[in-house]
Structures are given as structure tokens and as C-alpha cells.
Chain length 592, copies 2
């Protein structure tokens, strides 16, 4: 934490602390997105808040008052037990949603953890974050065995609901009253909390940190980065930052649908940057959370066709596979798809649009609460050729409505007045952010925090050009750029070009050492099911005739594989591709 930050913290904390109004002016209340759930349940208690397909394929539905009651129960339970920092290990379940609200309402901080990590990485995060309790889905509980050996005193509250409730109703309609049988320790905890509230005067939400939090600059969550190159880092989210990011997502993704309520499909993992703040955004407009335990393309298409889904978020790789699925067909009504993570291609946007999956193109980092820029689709592009229009949609665009503007600065600056690159669409620099949807820093890592904010702005580490129209376009992660004969080659630009080939499904490009040029690009491709006959040399010949790249950029090495290595959030693992390039592609992934 920087000196200025800790000063603000101390002063605000002293001046504005406490749930009472005594110390805050009457026209001021601390911003917190936790209030959105209490508010939704008060306005539309019977509206469907949760639709969950369990591991056993059953459908669990909960109304807003049920979701709010359960979150409140969890909050009172956590407060009774004194738990303040709660680890979360679960797929997209109702319990995850409840915990996002319940933990914050209890004045605690959530630590959502990626359940696709190895047990030792999960143990590292839980230990480093100093969690005092963990809520875990029954399917993934086993991943905690290693951690529990060294931390036997940290209780793990296991949720069994998501596995399948076998016809039991798990609804807790009011304090103490339940319908049906409870389903495991997590449900027991919720009930214990509701009883606690009842025994202590039924103060309900009024006594929780919902309408009034101690300080809007306090932490609400510590999600961790994926940590492909080093130990995962804990990213500090504040109530204020989460609130302003969540509101921006409502506006930018258009979750406030006129004459109705959005129906949001949870394909994006909630553990990832707290689901890009969408758990809060969707409740702000009383939308339905359609929660999926895993990305299952036939199921997603079934829900899109039958359940009136209005919105979902997904990385380009998920969208690519969704468009390629056998079940894909043009939807009768448009669905807004917020796309981020690795840079999407113009080709993907065209495919999606043809299926009535209308892209909302955003970009951000875990360090920016997920999305912080949007590629606005401008009416003035209407006369442009289709290909040019989709190419513009693939740009990362401009800062969000609640952000300060995004900039692209010349590389290697970390002090003094930072200099922007020219807005010419050619000069490459680093994308930097500022404003309220920047994280507070890295948890217990002053050195990494000061590096993150070197020069007073949040450094993305991503390289981009700045177009004359003010939009930015990512070229590469700093470490992914290919420098060949002194020229920069963008692996992203090559990948965008390669997926235009009619037989290619996905592409990953990395630098390999070259004795003459220093580096040269090498492409790994997957092909569409029915096009397995594609040969690498066909692709190279085809690439030489593409106008979107310069001749010197054409990859002279192409390898076709069964699948590409990906992170849990759908980004291609470039470090694994580099490993393959160095040591040879593993036998099991070689296609031909």
C-alpha cells in the first residue's frame, strides 16, 4: 500500500467509521455493492434470483428473498463465529453467490480461489491470504486435503447443494423456518445464522454491513491472479471500487433491459476477479443468475435456446468453441455477450454476430476488477465494409464510464511525467489505467504494488497501439511480442489472421529463437472437426496472400495439434507453447 493510500485509509477510517450516522454527514453514505441484494429482495422478493443446474442435472430455483435470506443467514453465522477472512472454493453455485454477499455483510473479506489450481497452489493462497475459514463445494473439498494438514484449525464449511439435492427443497423462507431437509454443513451454517439473528432481536439486514459499511475504502475481496510466471498475487478490491465497477458493467453491458429483467448465464467463473463484479451488477438490476458448474457447450446452447438468456460473459476461446459446437444455430432474439480476456479476433465477432450473439467487447485485468475498457460500436462505422467494421470491433477501445481514460505510454518509463505514444495506430507502448476501478494494490506485497503503480498509474504489462480515433488496440503481452530482425511482430495480429483460414479453429503464436533474425514466429493451430486434412504448408501458402499482415510477419513454421494449452480463464498458455517449441510437442497432442 502506498503512503498516500494508507494516509487516506487512516483518516477516512477514523472520521467515517462505524455503522451509525454520528460520524458521517447526512448527505454521505459509504459506497458498497452489498446493498444491491438487500435492495433487490425488498423491491421484487419473488423474482427469480437463481437458476442452477446441479451436478446431477436437477434445476434449483431461488427467489430474491430466498437468496437474500440465505446470504443474511451466512452473515450472522460468520459474525457469530468471528470469521473475517473467508476462502471460497467452488464453481458457479448458489452458495458462491450467497457467500459474496454474506461475507461482506458480516464485515469480512472474501478470498475466492480457482478450483482448477493444484492442491499446493490452493494451499499457498489460503495460507498467504490468512483465511480463518473456508466455504467449499463438496466436489472440490478434496483439493484442500494438503492445506488442512498444516492448518487443521481452519474450519471448512462444505456445501452439498450444488452436487444435487435429490428433490429436497433447500429453501429457508424466513428466520428459523425451513421447508424440506437441510443439505450438509453449509446449509446448517445458514440456518444457525438465521436463528442467531432471530435470537438477537431480528435486526435483519439493518444490523449488517449492507446499507452502511465502515469505510468504502475497506477491502471487500482478495481475488488472486492466475500467476502463470510467478506465485499468484492477491489483488485488493475495495467496496468503492467494486461498486463503481459493478455500476459501469450494468451500463456498458446493458444489463438494465427495458421492460423486464436480464437473465445472466454464468459461464465465466465467479472466482475470476469476483466474476468481473457481475455478481453485484446483476443484482443491481434484479436479474436472474443462471449458474453453471462447468462450461458445457450443449447445455449452454440448450439454455440459450430455451431459457431466454439475455446476457453472458466469456473469453474468446469459449466463444470460439461455442460457435463451433454442433448445437450452434442463430438465436431468434439477440443475446449480449461480453467478451474479454485474450484479445478476440474480427473473425470471431463476425461468427458470433451471425448467430445473434452480439459482442460487447471489453478488456481489463484482475487488477482492474475485470473489464475497464469497451470497444464501443459506433454508428459512423455503418458505411464501412463488413470486414473493416469487425476489425474495429476487435479493438479494446476506451475507458469505462466510471473509469478515467486509458492511455498508452512509451515503454520503459516509471517516473516523472509519463509520455504517451503517438496516436497513429503504429507506435507500440504500454496500456496504463487510473481512477476508481484500479485495485488498491497487492495483498502483503509492497514491492509488487509499487511496481504495479510505477509512475503513478496502473501498469497493465500489455502492449498496444493508440489509433488516431483514440481507441487502443492490444498487440501483445510485453513478454509475448516477437522481435524479428528488429521489427516487432504482434502474436495477437498473427493469431487474428490465422483464424480467418476457413479450416482453422484456434491459433497460438510464440517466438522461437532464430540465428539470423533473433526471433521468428511459430504458430500452433487446432482445426475444425471436418477439416482434419489441413496441412501446415497449406496454411503458410495461404498466409502469404493475406493483406492484414506484412510479408516479414508470415510464420514459416506451423504445427497442427489436437488442442491448445489454456489457463482456467481460457487464455492460451504461451509459456507452455514456448516449452513445446523448445523441447518438442508432446506426442499426445500432435495431430499429424
Amino acid at each position: 500500500m502506498s503512503g498516500a493510500s494508507s494516509r487516506l485509509r487512516n483518516v477516512l477510517g477514523h472520521l467515517l467509521s462505524g455503522p451509525k450516522t454520528d460520524n458521517v454527514p447526512h448527505h454521505f453514505s459509504h459506497l458498497s455493492p452489498t446493498h444491491f441484494l438487500e435492495r433487490a429482495a425488498a423491491i421484487e422478493p419473488n423474482a427469480e434470483a437463481v437458476y442452477h443446474v446441479t451436478a446431477s442435472g436437477e434445476v434449483l430455483r431461488r427467489s430474491y428473498i430466498e437468496l437474500a435470506d440465505r446470504a443474511r443467514g451466512l452473515a450472522y453465522y460468520l459474525r457469530k463465529k468471528g470469521f473475517k477472512r473467508v476462502g471460497l472454493l467452488a464453481p458457479n453455485t448458489p452458495a458462491f453467490l450467497e457467500a459474496i454477499y454474506g461475507i461482506a455483510a458480516a464485515g469480512g473479506v472474501m478470498v475466492p480461489v480457482n478450483y482448477r489450481l493444484k492442491p499446493e497452489d490452493i494451499a499457498y493462497i489460503m495460507d498467504f491470504a490468512e483465511v480463518d475459514s473456508i466455504i467449499a463445494d463438496a466436489e472440490y473439498e478434496g483439493l484442500l486435503d494438503m492445506y488442512r494438514k498444516t492448518h487443521p484449525s481452519v474450519p471448512v464449511i462444505v456445501d452439498l447443494v450444488g452436487l444435487g439435492f435429490r428433490g429436497q427443497s433447500l429453501i429457508i423462507p424466513d428466520n428459523g423456518g425451513i421447508r424440506g431437509k437441510l443439505c450438509g454443513p453449509y446449509d446448517d451454517a445458514v440456518l444457525e445464522g438465521l436463528n442467531r439473528d432471530r435470537e438477537t432481536g431480528s435486526k435483519g439486514w439493518a444490523d449488517l454491513a449492507s446499507q452502511r459499511v465502515a469505510n468504502e475504502d475497506d477491502l471487500i475481496a482478495i481475488p488472486f491472479t492466475s500467476g502463470t510466471t510467478s506465485k499468484p498475487k492477491g489483488v485488493m478490491y475495495t467496496h468503492r471500487g467494486a461498486y463503481l465497477a459493478a455500476l459501469a458493467n450494468v451500463v456498458e453491458s446493458g444489463l438494465n433491459v427495458p421492460d423486464g429483467r436480464c437473465k445472466y448465464l454464468w459461464t465465466l467463473p465467479m472466482f475470476h476477479a469476483v466474476g468481473w463484479t457481475f455478481p453485484w451488477s446483476v443484482c443491481a438490476v434484479r436479474g436472474t443468475h443462471v449458474c453453471l458448474r462447468k462450461v458445457d457447450y450443449p447445455l449452454i446452447w440448450k439454455l440459450l435456446k430455451e431459457q431466454g438468456i439475455t446476457h453472458f460473459n466469456a473469453a474468446p476461446t469459449v466463444n470460439t468453441l461455442l460457435c463451433a459446437a454442433a448445437e450452434a444455430e442463430r438465436l431468434p432474439r439477440p443475446v449480449r455477450v461480453t467478451v474479454a480476456a485474450s484479445p478476440p479476433t474480427a473473425h470471431l465477432f463476425e461468427q458470433m454476430t451471425n448467430l445473434n450473439l452480439l459482442p460487447v467487447h471489453v478488456y481489463g485485468l484482475t487488477e482492474t476488477y475485470g473489464p475497464i475498457t469497451k470497444g464501443y460500436v459506433l454508428p459512423e462505422w455503418d458505411p464501412l465494409p463488413k470486414h473493416e467494421k469487425y476489425a474495429r470491433m476487435a479493438r479494446q477501445g476506451y475507458g469505462f464510464v466510471t473509469s478515467l481514460p486509458v492511455r498508452v505510454i512509451k515503454p520503459d518509463q516509471s517516473e516523472g511525467v509519463l509520455v504517451d505514444v503517438a496516436k497513429n495506430g503504429r507506435e507500440i507502448g504500454e496500456i496504463v489505467f487510473s481512477g476508481n476501478i484500479c485495485c488498491k494494490g497487492y495483498f502483503k506485497d509492497a514491492e509488487a504494488t509499487s511496481k504495479l503503480f510505477a509512475g503513478g498509474v496502473l501498469r497493465s504489462g500489455d502492449l498496444a497501439v493508440w489509433h488516431p480515433d483514440g481507441s487502443i488496440q492490444i498487440q501483445d503481452r510485453a513478454k509475448d511480442i516477437i522481435i524479428s530482425g528488429g521489427e516487432n511482430i504482434s502474436s495477437v495480429a498473427l493469431e487474428s489472421m490465422l483464424v480467418e483460414h476457413p479450416d482453422v479453429l484456434e491459433a497460438g503464436v510464440v517466438a522461437v529463437p532464430d540465428s539470423h533474425w533473433g526471433e521468428r514466429p511459430k504458430a500452433y493451430l487446432t482445426v475444425k472437426e471436418e477439416r482434419k486434412s489441413l496441412r501446415p504448408e497449406d496454411v503458410i501458402t495461404w498466409a502469404k496472400h493475406q493483406s492484414s499482415i506484412s510479408k516479414f510477419m508470415v510464420p514459416r513454421e506451423v504445427e497442427i495439434v489436437r488442442e491448445l494449452p489454456k489457463t482456467s480463464t481460457g487464455k492460451i498458455k504461451k509459456n507452455v507453447l514456448r516449452e513445446w517449441a523448445k523441447k518438442g510437442t508432446p506426442r499426445e497432442v500432435v495431430l499429424k
Copy 2:
């Protein structure tokens, strides 16, 4: 200002002041809606920002870069001259919009004044607010003559553009360069400011209070209440409050239209609560401001039919007359109409819906930046009979997304723990607000401020019931309730009933003294053009058979008049009706 408020102010001011990042943490920036214009111009410079029908009937169009350039010019001019508190006397003109941004960007505070007030009231406000300069529309400049006599040193910058520019282009495309001829002193000031920026290094918006304001708790505007019963009071708006209110209005009115930009028609006066913060909301989503100098029903219908208007805001009385206009016909596409001010009737909502003018029902005060509650239309009402559905739409509803919940408290409480009325739809209490879209208090009036916040909440002075579903419904202003034989009679409920009569256009009900009952209701009505033959006794007979009111509420006195007296914001002037009841209706308004 309360003690706590001034303490916050001092500490924040000290800690977080200055445009540089030195004193604020990297993850924090002060909230200010002024940034929305700079941002809109950066994203979509050529999008139409302003469409203005001048007094001479010409159409003036300005793009976002033009609007932003002119606001920037004004800001540099004001800063050069040292003007910090700027009076605004104009109808809905481009200059008004520019001033809203330019004054704040210069670090100043705007004081918008109702041009329908008498010269002595305008003089009172300008004097009391201690303005150091005034921007005035040429048509209304004369209203300042009285003020200028006593304040000859305060410069009045006159805008001639809105009168009609007679084919001259008034665009200032970049620093110092102009196309066409300038049009009066206001244009000269804008140009002088742009030159100033150029001469001092062309720092543009970066050197203004847009991305960074000194403190989000600083004042941005002091609009005045209409002051029907006492001197007008100056309501203090902060950057933070205006920002959060403006964002809420984007979400609640749905200004972020998918696949396009909103086209917002300015029927609501901008001087009224700074146009309910819509000058900021519309720019936040790069919408077009269609500015009207006056409410002209044939022109409004022409614009609705021909210009693709998507949204407008208007008081019920404006909507009533709009629905009754000869030009009224069902629009091919829905237009969202945000309705507030005096409580609208179910009948009006039905009429509007039939014309495809879909109501967004909000409620608020000047003290709450305009709208702060919304009557959400819930899908669960679908099975209800039509009449019941419209009746629910006429409720004032629930607190906005960025507000804390609205409450209804038992009357006559001003200290300790305030007690809510029962949520039974019957017990009447006072509506109170809290949270960030409450004003900071009254300018230079500690006593009125402390009364406004008596008990720690913002007192509306409006009486309401609280329904079992949590929505509130206004019964009356405290002073408008009729107490007859110990029973409360809501003048609003009577008015809602009376306009259901097929011949009645508008209704205003007041209490008149009654020797037996204490008070009794008296109704003043206007009738539809073709129904002039309606007799008062017909209405009374009809009213006796209406189920929506109790028998004892039926007004025994009805008078039909040519027109009802209204405030500049479209509310019926109850004090004038009481005067009529006492001294007799003036001969010129008596219809029969």
C-alpha cells in the same frame, strides 16, 4: 452545514486536494460528472450532441467535439477572469449545456435561475448566492435590469445564439479557428477562452477540473427551490452527489440504449434541479440533447414523430396536455418518458401507454437532485386487471439504485430513533431519504438545513403510505392534506379519481374551511376542448359512484375553470387555489 459535514470537508479537502496525484492514492479519483463530456468527445467526436430549435425556428446542430470545445473555451475564459460563482438565466439552450460543463471545469459553481420568476426574485437569488458573473440568454436579459442597478459590477455575458443565428455557423472547431461569424458576447467569451488555452500551452481538458476535481464533496451547483411559501432556498449539490444521481438516471431511465445512442428531448427546464442531472446522464452515454426553448406541444409531437426521440422527462401536467394535443397519435417506436413532480394518475399512465409513451415513474425533490425513487413495473403484475396495473405504476415505489432505501416515518418525530409507519397501505407518514443523492444542505441557511435533516434523514415534507410490498405512495404535501371530520383526505387521491371522468382534463383539489367538518375538499377542474358542456353537478354525481374513494371524501364543491395555476415546473399552485376558494375565482378563469 452540520458539524460532521464540515469536519469531513476539511479533512478531505486537506488530504485529497489538488489536481495532481501526489496526495491521492493511485486507486482513487474524485467523482465528478464533468468528465462525462470530455470522455464523450474523445470516444465519438462527430456524434450529434446538440439539436436546438432556436427562437426563430432554425435548427442548430453541434457535435460532441464542438460542444466540448465550447465548454472548454468557456472554462478557460471564466478562469482567466477569476469567475467562480456563475448565475445562469436561460431556457434549454446549447449555451446552458456548455455552461453546466464549463463552469464546473473552471472549478466554479453554477447557480441556475428560473427565468419565469419575477425580476425581484431573480435579483434576490443572484444577490443571495453571491454570483460574480451571469450568463444570460438574450431573450431574458431584461429580467436582470433590477439586479444590475444594485450590482453594476457583476458582468452579464449575453448569449444570442438561441434567438436564431440566421444562417451563421457558430462552430468553433479548434483552438482559435472559427467558421462563420461569432454571435454576441457569449460567443466572444468562448473564443477568448479557447485563445487563452492556446496561448498558455494548449493543455486542454487536462488542466481543467474534469478528470480530477479538488474534492468530490465540493459544490458543483446551487439550484434554488421554487419557494412557493417562503424565499427560495439554495440547494447545495456536490460533485459526488451529482455523479451518483446522474449514473442512477442512466440506469433507471435506460438511457444506455442497446446498439445506438439515446436522443433526449429537453422539455424539462434545465434550471430545475440542474435538469434532474440529465445534462450529465445524457453525455455519459453520448446521447443527443434535443434542446427546446419552450414547451410547444405541436413542436414536441413533430420532433417525436420525425426526429427519433427515445426519451424525455416531463411533469404529469405536461404529459396530460401532450396526450390531449390535436397532434397526438400512437408512435411507431416506444419513447421512454420519465415522469415526476406532482403525483401522476393511473389514468394518465394508461393514456400515455396507449400512445407508446412508456412511463418511467420517478419521484424526488430539488433537495435530492431530482429523481430518487422509481415505481418499478414488475412482471408479476402481468395477470392483474389493467386498471390495477396502472394504479400500481402510479405509486412512487422504491429508492434508486445509488440511493439508500426510502422510508415513511410517523409524523412529528425529529430526534432519536425514528419510527416507521406500518407497511399496510393505510397509515400516513412522512417520506424521508438518506444516502448519497441527498443534497449537502441549504446555502447560507444553517437553520433550514438542520430542519431539513431533522432526525438525521432528509425530510421530504411529503405524506405517503407504505404498501405491504415495500413501495411508497404519496398522499399529499403535509400542507395539502385535507382533514375532514378527523379523517385524512388525500387531495392527490381525489385528483386521481376526478381525471378518470371522461370529460375532465385536469384536477386540483384543496381544503376549504367547513363549520361542521373542520375542512372539506373543493375541486377545480379543466375540461377537454370538445366537452365544454360538462356541469359541476354531473361530476359530483359521477364521483359518488367511484369505488376508488370512500363516500366521505366525495367533494361537494366543484368548479370548472379555463386553466389551473401552475408553477414553472408544472405543479398546480395549491396556494393560488386556496386564495380563489377564499376570495372567489377570478372572473377571467371562470368557465361557467
